[in-house]
């Protein structure tokens, strides 16, 4: 019903009633009654005009709407009248809702994002599994899928080129099959300044299999993926926007990737950023081009021993996943066992598992899954505290509004009507709080991003979406209804007579007051308990971070500049490459502020590893030696400050000599040479032509790829080729050296691609990114919880002091000292806080073991954390008690007694 029609009907009803009254009065006048008397009698006879109208309006059937509008109007008026109360409640809710919205938008974008492909349920990714693993000599999966390896079972999702081409020609279970390989770092020229870009190599059926279209131009077709095809590239929509400014003329242009001319044929549709979450590539290029781009990890078309392709297939219509799995497994077994060089044994049961792409290609999503859910639990608890805080505030206000309620009840308002109105008020508060919360979430995500707290999570393109909005609306309504309910019911349970008396505002009916008290106290105890829980969790995570940062990596990570350089695609190799590295090393050492310089195939703690398994010399051939490998330049141990324990480090002549040498770490010696002196022994002298490496020295243990891992046996060998990372030991902030290093390199050879700079400390921080994020955010939420709980405690005590003003006045008049009053108020508050903290600690002791996997070097029941949190809580709650207590001490007995 429109507002206008309603207004008209309302006016008609008024007139109908008015005419009734006038006719009744006229008749009385005609019977001889006096004007005034007639009017009054007619009124009396008519009854309660408001109620008659109300009952009539009820018949119209849209009473709820009218009530609703009225409630909102009235609610807004009430909220405007109490700006302090409104402000505190809205702010509390905004913080709670905002924190939830922010974390949920991370979850929504990182974990719940549906794949932007057609009919994703029919797309499956292939995974292999075999007891002893496959005999691959090369393997890389580019982080597309995450597979938990077990002791007895090895699995993976990378396959060789020959396997893919065999599978492609078997059109039995899949309607189409595609393979792709991960990030190729490409040097881009021919469009603006030279820059670095990333690309994925995809087979010609990629876009067709996924059902992804082009936004501009076309996608890669099977015809682009042959040995004779002209090189083409399809751009990621986001990259097209950022690097090409969304220029439609970019399509058709020629760009140079690593010096090879490519034609940009199209831009993929905007919502397709990546098949595997978090692995966003700037462009897609046909798989066949690996022969010309030569990524180090690719295997040749005939090399079945190099797994580097991820395979995704679209199921043929009518074929179930299990059927397809059986068929592909059979095919895989044949290929693996019957090939020229078998990769597995019959007994190892090699097989294929098909998983839906949504679950199978998790990308880096799995890294954030648990941390994000943990944070979601934390913010949910914060919201719970905020809700109970608001409930407490409303309850306190409800007590002061009892006279209003009593008046309304006395005037004939229905109880359900009043409950509805109170609820409308609290929902209004939560809606305003929710709107502010969205702003707060948006703002905090921006802040997190610019402070680089989000780090790699930002790759998931975190943006508020429809799902987040729905979530926030639901949460807001819940936070409105939940805390409003109890005060609404309680507020209307009033004994009218005492409530309407003159002194009602300060002493409401005895029974309801007592009830709200115990309820209010329960709320405060719950809040303190919940915030204790969050604080303890945060404390454990912070201690974990501190422990991780305190780990001795075995080398000096401070003042170390890392410089990545790749001269290999400029034609450098072998002796020429070694001489370039040697030259760079000596020239960089001359820079002011540089103590020493070395280089290695990879930097320590970079997260990447090179693992080799060997049969040891002079021992049982069945016992394999597994070791981490690192090729290093001269002065490596010296520069990294890894002490040489026995023997010697590498000398320049080791680099060109045909006699191969190696330096092992102490863990190596302990594990594999427990009862013999390893010096002079050879590693891998299995081949007559290859003499293997002679062990010439033992160095102290140092962490290899990951700070959290235990130190494993590691063998260092002289770096003879390939790309390198230079390590510069400096006396000052290593980053100040970047320009100087840059100019040294370009003086030596200006054609060298851009260098990658990083400090070792920053690299370690990046590897601890997840722990940083969780520790920082959870301590932020812990503090938020603490503040909210203290506001709750403060509110309760303030209310109580106000209510007991008279009692305190009497006590003071009877001779109570200020310290007695202080003890009374603070004691009560502290008792609640201690009770809550004890409860929280008890709960925490039971549940912290669930975050066991997040912790490092600290037990879930760490007494120091528990004690620290208890202490913090006591101190802060003392502060929260002090203000109301001071007010209580200042009560003037004369004023207080006259008050009533």
């Amino acid at each position: 019903m429109s507002l206008w029609r309603r207004k008209k009907r309302e006016a008609e009803l008024d007139e109908e009633v008015r005419s009734h009254l006038e006719m009744a009065a006229r008749e009385r006048r005609e019977r001889g009654e006096k004007e005034e008397e007639a009017k009054r009698a007619a009124r009396r006879e008519f009854g309660n005009m408001g109620l008659v109208k109300e009952a009539t309006r009820d018949v119209w059937g849209w009473r709820w709407l009218r009530d609703f509008v009225e409630d909102i109007r009235y609610g807004l008026r009430m909220l405007r009248k109490n700006p302090g109360f409104t402000g505190v409640v809205v702010l509390t809710l905004a913080l709670g809702i905002g924190a939830n919205t922010a974390i949920f938008s991370l979850i929504s974008n990182v974990l719940l994002h549906p794949l932007p492909v057609r009919d994703a349920d029919r797309l499956v990714v292939l995974k292999w599994s075999a007891h002893g693993g496959l005999g691959y000599h090369g393997y890389s999966d580019f982080g597309f899928c995450h597979i938990d390896q077990t002791e007895t079972e090895q699995a993976g999702c990378s396959f060789s080129y020959p396997f893919f081409s065999q599978l492609r020609s078997q059109p039995k279970v899949f309607s189409s099959v595609t393979a792709f390989a991960g990030n190729v770092g490409i040097h881009l020229t021919g469009y603006g300044a030279p820059s670095k870009a990333s690309g994925a190599l995809v087979s010609g059926e990629y876009f067709q299999t996924l059902g992804v279209a082009a936004a501009v131009g076309r996608t890669i077709q099977p015809a682009d993926d042959t040995t004779h095809s002209e090189p083409v590239a399809v751009l990621n929509y986001g990259y097209w926007q950022s690097a090409f400014g969304g220029d439609r003329a970019a399509v058709g242009r020629t760009i140079y990737l690593d010096g090879i001319p490519f034609t940009i044929v199209g831009v993929a549709e905007p919502n397709f950023t990546s098949l595997s979450p978090g692995n966003i590539q700037d462009m897609w290029i046909p798989l066949e081009l690996y022969t010309r781009l030569k990524p180090v990890w690719s295997g040749g078309p005939d090399d079945p021993g190099n797994g580097w392709l991820t395979i995704v297939g679209r199921l043929q219509a009518g074929i179930r996943v299990t059927q397809a799995q059986t068929a592909v497994s059979l095919f895989f077994r044949n290929e693996i066992l019957q090939g020229a060089k078998p990769l597995s044994k019959e007994g190892d049961d090699p097989r294929i598992i098909l998983t839906r792409v949504q679950e199978g290609l998790v990308g880096s999503r799995w890294v954030y899954e648990r941390p994000l859910y943990l944070l979601m639990v934390a913010v949910a608890i914060v919201l719970l505290i905020a809700c109970s805080n608001v409930a407490g505030l409303m309850l306190a206000r409800g007590a002061t509004r009892q006279k209003e309620m009593a008046v309304r009840l006395a005037l004939g308002a229905g109880r359900s009507r009043i409950v509805r109105q109170v609820l409308t008020e609290s929902v209004l508060l939560s809606v305003v709080g929710g709107a502010l919360g969205v702003l707060f979430a948006y703002w905090s995500l921006t802040a997190l991003r610019s402070a680089n707290w989000l780090g790699p999570v930002d790759d998931f393109a975190v943006n508020p979406d429809g799902r987040v909005l729905v979530f926030t609306v639901i949460v807001s309504l819940m936070t409105g209804i939940l805390p409003g309910w109890a005060p609404a019911i309680r507020g209307t349970r009033v004994n009218l007579t005492p409530a309407l008396k003159e002194n009602a505002p300060t002493i409401p009916g005895v029974a309801p007051r007592h009830r709200w008290f115990s309820f209010g106290r329960t709320l405060v105890v719950t809040q303190v308990a919940l915030s204790t829980l969050v604080l303890i969790g945060a404390g454990l995570l912070v201690r974990t971070l501190v422990n991780l940062k305190g780990i001795d990596p075995g080398f000096d990570a401070n003042n170390l500049l890392l410089v990545g350089i790749d001269p290999t695609d400029k034609g450098y190799k072998d002796a020429q490459l070694r001489s370039l590295y040697r030259q760079l090393q000596s020239q960089l050492s001359l820079l002011r502020g540089v103590v020493s310089v070395t280089y290695s195939s990879d930097t320590l703690l970079s997260g990447s590893s090179w693992v080799r398994s060997l049969a040891p010399q002079g021992q049982d051939k069945d016992v394999e030696m597994k070791m981490n490998m690192l090729s290093v330049g001269p002065r490596f141990f010296d520069t990294m400050r890894i002490p040489v324990v026995v023997g010697r480090a590498f000398i320049p002549s080791d680099y060109d000599s045909t006699h191969k040498v190696t330096v092992i770490n102490q863990a190596f010696a302990r594990r594999y040479f427990e009862h013999q002196n390893p010096l002079g022994l050879y590693l891998d002298k299995s081949d007559a032509k290859d003499s293997g490496e002679e062990i010439i020295g033992i160095v102290a243990d140092a962490k290899y790829d990951d700070l959290k891992k235990n130190i494993e046996p590691t063998a260092y060998v002289p770096l003879r080729g390939g790309r390198a990372h230079f390590e510069l030991r400096t006396v000052m902030n290593p980053e100040t050296l970047i320009p100087a290093v840059q100019s040294v390199v370009s003086e030596l050879d200006s054609r060298l691609p851009r260098l990658e700079f990083r400090t070792e400390v920053a690299q370690i921080d990046l590897s601890l990114f997840r722990e940083h994020l969780v520790a920082r955010l959870s301590s932020f939420f812990g503090l938020l919880a603490l503040i909210l709980a203290c506001v709750g405690l403060y509110g309760l005590l303030s209310y109580e002091v106000a209510r007991r003003t008279r009692e305190i006045g009497i006590r003071t008049a009877l001779g109570a000292q200020q310290r007695h009053v202080l003890r009374m108020v603070v004691g009560q508050g502290l008792a609640l806080a201690v009770l809550g903290a004890a409860l929280g600690i008890a709960v925490a002791a039971g549940v912290t073991r669930y975050i066991h996997s997040f912790l490092y070097g600290v037990r879930p029941s760490d007494p120091a954390t528990f004690a620290g949190v208890a202490m913090l809580l006591t101190l802060v709650s003392l502060a929260a008690c002090y203000l109301p207590a001071r007010r209580a001490m200042q009560v003037d007995p004369m004023v207080a007694l006259r008050y009533e």
């Binding site: 005419s19 009734h20 109208k53 009952a55 004939g412 229905g414």
Partner: protein
């Protein structure tokens, strides 16, 4: 819930069926406004039935909603603008139904009340 309010509702319930019948019957004699209806019922019942305005107006609006009566603003005999209600065709049929229901009911009650012979 206020007591006053409950009293009203009780009375509406009590009179629900019969009040509708009385209103429809009154309107059969010609269009009439709310006040006129209440006066007519009072007079014809020998001052016995006092129609409460809190029941009368909701009933009128309900009957109007059910399209048994329709309303129109007119000027009354003594130059007073008033809302006149008037029976519709559907209302006439309803009146017949209500009347037979009422006579059945009163026969039934009379039968029960009649002393046994």
């Amino acid at each position: 819930m206020g007591e006053k309010r409950e009293r009203y509702q009780n009375r509406i319930e009590l009179l629900q069926g019969t009040l509708d019948l009385l209103i429809l019957q009154t309107l059969q004699w010609g269009p009439q406004h709310g006040y006129g209806i209440s006066v007519a019922i009072r007079n014809r019942s020998g001052e016995l039935l006092q129609v409460d305005t809190g029941s009368l107006y909701p009933a009128l609006h309900r009957l109007e909603k059910q399209k048994w009566i329709k309303a129109e603003w007119r000027i009354s005999d003594n130059k007073q603008r008033a809302k006149f209600y008037q029976l519709t065709a559907a209302g006439k049929k309803q009146l017949t139904r209500e009347r037979s229901k009422w006579s059945q009911l009163s026969d039934a009650i009379a039968g029960v009340l009649q002393p046994e012979e």
